[in-house]
Amino acid sequence: MTVNRPGGPTGVDEAEDTAGPAQAGWVEQALREHDEHHDHDGPHEHGKQGAVPDREQQVLDRIDRARRRRPKVREERITMSHGAGGKSTHTLIEAIFLDAFRNPLLEPLEDAASLAVGTAQVALTTDSYVVSPLFFPGGDIGELAINGTVNDLAVSGARPLYLSAGFILEEGFPVADLTRIAASMRDAAAAAGVQIVTGDTKVVQRGKADGCYINTAGVGVLDRGAALGVAYAQPGDAIIVSGPIGDHGITIMLARGELDIEADVQSDTAPLNGLIAGLLDAVPGVRAMRDATRGGVATILNEIARAADVGVLVNEDDIPVRPEVRGAAELLGIDPMYVACEGRLVAVVPGDEADQALAALQTHPLGTHASVIGHVTSDSPGLVYLKTAFGGTRIVDLLVGDPLPRIC
């Protein structure tokens, strides 16, 4: 096939023939920036045995370099994509927050920071909860606010101890609902074995918030001494999920009532500290754990590939998904791999300890459907591959923002 460049004999040039169409300024800007970078792209070491890369591989290498560039927020305003947990969120965090606050404790961008306080090693985390609707099948915002923060501590290897609770309430919010949320937080804290020991309350004018937002922060003690982090993943490691994925996200989408789909699904919100304690007892060599929230399991796999500079290969047949969730996702044209969970663990364990890890998880009620979904590889660092149930292969990349339903 002939490649016509620059421009080309058709399409692109035809636009110039007609009377002076306008130009989009931002495109020129993007291209200028691109060209500046392009000039600095030196020859790139490639492949094995110094083989001459084919043209497609050259392009792939160029893209890989572009992806490793310093992230930059291009938008002038925050869009919903910045909160979806995908590429836009990563860019925002790295370009704005990490850039402003940079320090060695923050830099790993793990779910909780690991701090030395006196002689003790402590984990600290915080999370805000803005879910809508506030009450949904399987839970509510209060339970979520406790479990989410407990899980962020637990996956960092800490024993969760104390939580704070901050409330932003909208004028007019029913006191009965707030009472219900508080009771649910009390019960969730008791179930997870943590105490809520400090808090804050603000009320904003009607229309300035959506009923009730909650922030919780948590501290836990790191008394196992094991260093955990996605950057520790090594080729040969196994990747395990603790149960069916996507339940929470699909439940929320359906609970909003915009889709007119009914399915018997409920949120999987649960505290993972018990499950994790059992896993760490059985397999002290666990390399990393994450709870799959926003962005789903796919986002975590990408975080592993990026942080450890390894490849990740997963097998679609081995990923547990409930039929109801799969059905709803299929109808909407979205991939359960990107849908949020609130009580699912993704663990990276040494390959030869995968069976022990799986056995330990499966003895806990939250881990009965745990499954090894894939392995860490040395090939194609930075990328996540999926062996599809159909028998083909494809990439599983980060999404830009929320998964959008397709037109047809």
Binding site: N4, G8, T18, V27, G327, E330, I407
Partner: protein, 380 residues
Amino acid sequence: MKFVDEFRDADTAHALAAKIAALCEPGRQYKLMEVCGGHTHTIYKHGLEDYLPESVTLVHGPGCPVCVIPMGRVDDAMALASEPDVIMTSFGDMMRVPGSNGSFFDAKAAGTDIRMVYSPLDSLKIARNNPDKRVVFMAIGFETTAPSTAMTIMRAAQENLRNFSVFCNHVTIIPAIKAILDSPDLRLDGFIGPGHVSTVIGCRPYEFIARDYGKPVVTAGFEPLDILQSIYMLLAQLSEGRSEVENQYARVVPWDGNPTALKVIGETMQLRPYFEWRGLGFISHSALSVREKYAQFDAELLFHVPGVRVADPKACQCGEVLKGVLKPWECKVFGTACTPETPIGTCMVSPEGACAAYYNYGRMNRHRVKEAVTIQVGRP
């Protein structure tokens, strides 16, 4: 899952792949175009190309609804959305499509009232609930989505809803296929016909492709085995020297289409003399506008639409990609200046766009990955 898993069975796929390989004549190259973006999505999502011999290349065609919307039209929609008291409604795919001043998402962030809907009927609901607002539905898509827009217009007329209108950007597939067939820089051996469009228009409209251009057409379904089977059917035609229109998707597509759907389109919409397609330029009789009888629901008459043409960025080669002249990765800005995060061309926006599909799912060296997958997946 019933009625899904049967169409994704790996054993059947292996058997079909062997039959496909057996049909390929040594030394001959086959280029087949899947017209519909839904097919492109399926091909990449399931890694279907792993089953094809190297001599069979799939070329991704123009049937992705948002990919063919020119930038000027996005700007028009944005102008409509910023009129006083307007609520603009649109499908999710449209939200990230860049105009010359950003996308719907950007406009939404800046305070414009733009809402994502799953069906045009949702827009109608919004109109009923907001009688003091003017609700506009940004209608896009081929004959597949046109009937639901048509039904919505008729419903609005029945209810005599005065605050609802449609910004109509519906396009028709046949003139686009013809433009591709007439383009001098193209060499295709056959077409995987668009399944969803065909549920409405049927298979008859493709007969000229087989008759006048000598290219076989097989209308295909959207599961990976559907596509694999349609590739087999195309190769069988080629090896037997036939060029016919065949229907692989007969379980859904009637040969003569859906007369009711065609009737409602005809009732509410008419062909435009011409319409601009992204990358393909102006194509005559290739799009639909709201009929005069329903003028009160035509946003183009109710509002001032600037109608300023915006040139496709020079560096963007969406046109060549849409025609299958270039593979996505052969575009100069692919994956570096143009990514799903910062798309320059529309093909990079929708999951059905050839560039986005390749970037999100197919950006890899197939040979190396195949080796890695075979070794790793074999593990206990």
